[in-house]
């Protein structure tokens, strides 16, 4: 994804403790998010979700599948 693109979350693996908190922070299948930027050193990544700016590492972000929206 390029900075500024929006996407909708398709799947989030269930039962992973590292993703449980993200779910509680509103990252659920069907949630729209915008990729804001990469940190200058390449990791972590910053997303806009439900009006909040959230940052996670590539390791966690790569577990989430999204569908890019125009």
């Amino acid at each position: 994804m390029e900075a500024g693109t929006s996407a909708v979350i398709r799947t989030l693996p269930e039962g992973l403790p590292s993703l449980a908190r993200l779910r509680e922070m509103g990252l659920l299948p069907g949630t729209r998010l915008t990729f804001v930027r990469r940190a200058p050193l390449g990791d972590p990544l910053e997303f806009m979700v439900r009006g909040a700016l959230l940052s996670l590492r590539g390791t966690e972000a790569s577990l989430i599948t999204v569908e890019v929206q125009p």
Binding site: E14, G15, P17, S18, A20, R21, L22, R23, E24, M25, G26, L28, P29, V36, R37, A39, P40, L41, G42, D43, P44, E46, V49, R50, G51, A52, L53, L54, S55, L56, R57, T59, E60
Partner: protein, 703 residues
């Protein structure tokens, strides 16, 4: 006839991190607050008194900020346990004020949907409505209130806007319990929870009248601490969890979705969003501060400015503190007859107190900057920028600031590690932060560099390079040990980084100053008492037993020190020190420097009888001590302070834990002597072994 709230009613403040909860707590309680710790954990416990609109005194508890009641860290467990009335040290709140960030309503309401299910009356505070409005969001307050059955108060807590309305709501005698959103739960989950409540009630873990949801928060998540729950009851909780997991796989995930569905349905009615989102101020500032060039320059510039203040501007108050204690000790010397009691006051008590207070300006300044960075929202950006580097050694971006602060003083560094949620990352950060070259090492390094290389013999750049090398060794040591601990000693998965980057806001200086002072006061109280006691002990060790002095003769301080316990201790440990090239005199200096590193310089002056003269400043005193060190000879006539010895001592000072304040603070922050002593052992042990290795290598090479 009374229609208002009953006096002494206990309110709890809950909310997400960064929702302005603490600002609201300060606005409500003013100076009537008590800050302490929950027993057994180092989580700040804040309680205060406030008055209802009709002057009735109410109690307010500020609970740790959290995104959810499904506890995943010790602070979140405190939040849950206080709300459920499970902590014997804190009264169960009778009412809850739930603070949400109005500009981020959906996510903030998640915690609210959990809180209303506890069955207590709730007041919903929509904080920062000004930010929401400037973003084009419109919230239908009456409809929101009707939907959830709770009073809703729009506020701007930082400007005390809406405070009267909140106090009016708090004053109501008849606050109704909210409409619980139980129907948001999937039916099989609800059934399973009712069954586990029965089992837990039979075991006495929850009361029979508890909400069916109480077991939910006990059995969900990866709770680190089950406060006050015995092993048998814990087994029931584990079983209930396993059973739910079998019957309804992914039940927790389904519950989260159900809650968000309920929130989204409410938002459709209540929230009006602008058609197009415009770039906010936060976006524009982040464009600069997280930029791949400007971001680093801004961070570097800010840190350079901070360290400039720490190392130069703070000199003025530090000197003032030193001078005033010197003045006081001079006054006592002239008022009192010479004797042990006078020496106890001047050399024991006063030097102990001043040894603690001398670092207070630095500590206050660091706490102020840390508070400023936290309050404006920049702290999260620093963690975002630095995470990649810190993750290389198994830490996360939030560990950067504690380690950086430790370059001024490890005390605020260790205390600021509280902002790291993961207990494992926090412990590793606390263990390695004191390896950073703190400012108390600076006078020792300056003395040893001066003793090692004669002025004029090498270009000044060489000395600067050595100093830089010593600082770099500290950083490398901290990173190296962090790597070692995270991969070998405390294995376990590094916790994932989930970092919220809150919107930038103007700092609330009054709360920053209040927090700065309360942290500093905690340091003075805890570390101060330990240091005062030990510095009296140290004074006694370097005074007794006394060397008999013939009447009318000036006592020889150097000989007296050699005769004292400290001197004997120096002799006693000499065999241990010889492999690193040191003799008993250095041993006395090292023993005394375990109180605080900079004491090394003053005790070396005593040992070598380098007397302070009127009008001396630190530089000239250090200069004379340096000359005296260069003249010091071994019994065979060779100089003692060879470059090899100086290097060996420098290495020792880079690694060794020689700071009672830090030990006292680490003991407090980790809540165990075990980690404080482990740190003392690994740091000092490494320092000793490497110093021995350096000296032996130099001997072998004939240097």
């Amino acid at each position: 006839m009374s229609t208002g709230v009953s006096p002494g009613m206990v309110y709890a403040l809950v909310g997400n991190p960064n929702c302005g909860k603490t600002t609201l707590f300060n606005a409500l309680t003013g100076l009537r607050q008590k800050v302490g710790n929950y027993p057994g954990v180092t989580i700040e416990r804040k309680e205060g008194d406030c008055f209802s609109q009709h002057g009735v005194r109410l109690k307010l508890i500020d609970l740790p900020g959290s995104y959810s009641l499904n506890a995943r860290s010790p602070d979140e467990a405190i939040l849950r346990d206080v709300l459920l009335g499970r902590r014997s040290d804190t009264p169960r709140p009778q009412r809850i004020i739930c603070v949400v960030d109005a500009s981020n309503l959906e996510r903030n309401l998640y915690l609210f949907t959990q809180v209303v299910e506890l069955g207590l009356p709730v007041i919903l505070v929509l904080n920062m409505v000004d930010v929401a409005e400037s973003g084009g969001l419109r919230i239908d307050v009456p409809k929101l209130s009707e939907r959830f059955g709770v009073p809703v108060v729009p506020m701007v807590a930082s400007r005390k806007q809406g405070l009267v309305e909140l106090k009016l709501a708090m004053s109501r005698a008849d606050l109704p319990p909210p409409r619980a959103l139980l129907d948001a739960l999937p039916v099989p989950v609800r059934g399973a929870l009712v069954r586990s409540r029965e089992a837990l009630a039979a075991a006495g873990v929850v009361s029979g009248t508890a909400s069916p949801l109480e077991p939910l928060y006990l059995i969900s998540g990866n709770d680190p601490t089950h406060y006050g729950i015995d092993a048998a009851a814990l087994a029931i909780i584990r079983n209930a969890r396993a059973q739910l997991e079998r019957e309804i796989p992914g039940w927790e995930d389904r519950m989260v979705s159900a809650r968000y569905d309920a929130i989204m349905a409410a938002m459709d009615e209540v929230l009006h969003r602008p058609a197009t989102a415009s770039a906010t101020l936060t976006d524009r500032i982040d464009g600069l501060l997280l930029h791949r060039v400007w971001g680093w320059l801004a961070l570097g510039g800010m840190l350079a400015f901070l360290f400039y203040l720490i190392f130069s501007a703070v000199e003025i108050p530090m000197n003032a503190i030193e001078d005033s204690f010197r003045w006081l000790s001079g006054k006592i010397t002239s008022w009192m007859a010479p004797g042990d009691f006078r020496d106890l006051l001047t050399d024991g008590v006063i030097s102990g107190v001043s040894g603690v207070l001398i670092f207070l300006p630095q500590i206050l300044l660091l706490f102020f900057f840390i508070g400023l960075m936290e309050d404006t929202g920049y702290m999260a950006r620093v963690a975002f920028l630095m995470d990649r580097i810190m993750s290389r050694v198994g830490l996360n971006g939030k560990s950067f600031l504690p380690i950086l602060s430790s370059h001024a003083c490890a005390v605020p560094g260790v205390m600021s590690a509280r902002s790291i949620e993961s207990p494992r990352d926090r412990l590793i950060t606390i263990l390695v932060a004191p390896l950073a070259a703190c400012s108390a090492r600076l006078p020792v390094y300056l003395l040893l560099i001066a003793a090692m290389v004669p002025t004029g013999a090498v270009p000044p750049l060489f000395k600067a390079g050595m100093m830089l090398g010593l600082y770099a060794s500290g950083i490398l040591a901290a990173f190296g040990f962090a790597w070692l601990f995270s991969s070998r000693i405390l294995p376990g998965k590094p916790s994932p980084l989930i970092l919220e980057l809150p919107g930038y806001k103007m700092p609330a200086f009054s709360s920053i100053l209040r927090q700065m002072w309360s942290r500093a006061w905690m340091f003075i109280r805890r570390a101060g008492t330990v240091i005062m006691g030990l510095s009296i002990l140290l004074w006694a060790a370097s005074t007794y037993p006394k060397l008999p002095t013939p009447a009318g003769q000036e006592p020889d301080k150097s000989a007296a020190l050699a005769h004292s316990m400290a001197g004997r201790l120096g002799h006693f440990i000499e065999p241990v020190l010889r492999p690193m090239g040191a003799d008993w005199k250095i041993g006395v200096g090292l023993v005394s420097s375990f109180a605080a590193r900079e004491v090394f310089v003053s005790s070396m002056s005593v040992i070598y009888s380098v007397e302070e003269q009127d009008g001396d400043d630190d530089d000239t005193l250090r200069g004379r001590l340096r000359d005296r060190l260069r003249d010091e000879k071994r019994p065979d006539g060779s100089p003692v302070y060879t470059p090899a010895l100086c290097v060996s001592l420098m290495i020792f000072f880079v690694f060794a834990m020689q700071c009672l304040s830090t030990i006292a603070v680490v003991r407090r922050e980790t809540n165990s002597w075990k980690w404080a002593l482990f740190q003392l052992a690994f740091m000092t042990g490494t320092g000793y072994l490497l110093a021995v290795a350096a000296w032996q290598t130099a001997q072998f090479l004939g240097l």
